[in-house]
């Protein structure tokens, strides 16, 4: 099943684009590209109990690792809610760099 993926504009997008992150525009695009891909790849993550933040939680997490524009390895944890999965929507509620 393909999902519609949404992100929290104030918490997630703002975090990624904050100057303190030191992410180039291409890096932000890479991260958003990964999140966009959850439309297709989200189902296995949803079905993996080890990814649930707690048993029965509406949230699961995925960690994305990439080499940024400077070649530095960066890892970002994303917390995704599938509370609206019945409507075909996944919502990225939170992110932080690890």
């Amino acid at each position: 099943m393909a999902y519609h993926v949404e992100i929290d504009e104030a918490l997630v997008l703002a975090y990624l684009r904050h100057p303190d992150r030191g992410l180039a525009d291409t890096d932000v695009d890479t991260l958003l590209g990964f999140l966009e891909g959850l439309a297709q790849t989200g189902e296995p993550y949803r079905n993996d109990p080890s990814r649930r933040c707690s048993p029965g939680s509406a949230h699961f997490e995925v960690t994305y690792i990439f080499a940024d524009a400077t070649g530095t390895m960066r890892a970002f944890r994303f917390i995704v809610s599938d509370a609206a999965a019945a409507y075909g929507v996944l919502r990225v509620r939170f992110t932080e760099e690890l």
């Binding site: 997008l13 684009r17 525009d25 990964f34 994305y64 809610s81 919502r91 690890l98």
Partner: protein, 159 residues
């Protein structure tokens, strides 16, 4: 030991050495060529891995990939070490194999470093950090589609 026996043993030893030298002579060039082919394949793997890292990967998928690559490169290093043992002291083969082994070891060190970095333990996420409640409707205030976010980010807009 009787002289005849000693002479027979010496002769057998010479034939053994000659046979081994003949084998080494036969396999030297093909082994070096195959070694170069392995190094070329390794360079291709390294390039693919670097490209994959630029594109990024989900952590578990990355760890699985790195484990497979590490295992293969470890076997590659063993192969070069065994070849080096066979051609130890060979003025032509030994330096070439040493160079191949060095390149394999350098790649292995890089892959192991990536693996250590990517496998660092991640503390469990504390859900109390999330603003309640989790929106469960078809639309939710404050959320935008990722494709819209990408468009905005590419356009350099803040909202």
């Amino acid at each position: 030991m009787p002289t005849a026996t000693r002479e027979n043993m010496r002769s057998r030893l010479e034939r053994l050495n000659a046979s081994m030298d003949a084998v080494k002579e036969t396999i030297r060039q093909p082994l070096l060529e195959k070694g170069n082919a392995i190094i070329e394949a390794q360079r291709g793997m390294e390039q693919a891995l670097r490209e994959g890292l630029r594109e990024g990967m989900e952590r578990e998928a990355l760890l699985s990939t790195l484990a497979s690559v590490r295992s293969q490169v470890e076997r590659e290093g063993e192969l070069f070490e065994n070849a080096l043992a066979i051609f130890e002291g060979d003025a032509v083969a030994a330096p070439a194999i040493e160079s191949q082994l060095r390149e394999a070891k350098a790649f292995l060190t890089w892959v192991r470093g990536l693996e250590v970095s990517a496998s660092a333990p991640i503390p469990p996420f504390d859900e109390s950090r999330l603003p309640p409640p989790a929106p469960d409707g078809p639309t939710a205030e404050g959320y935008i589609s990722v494709s819209e976010a990408r468009t905005r980010a590419r356009a350099g807009k803040t909202s």
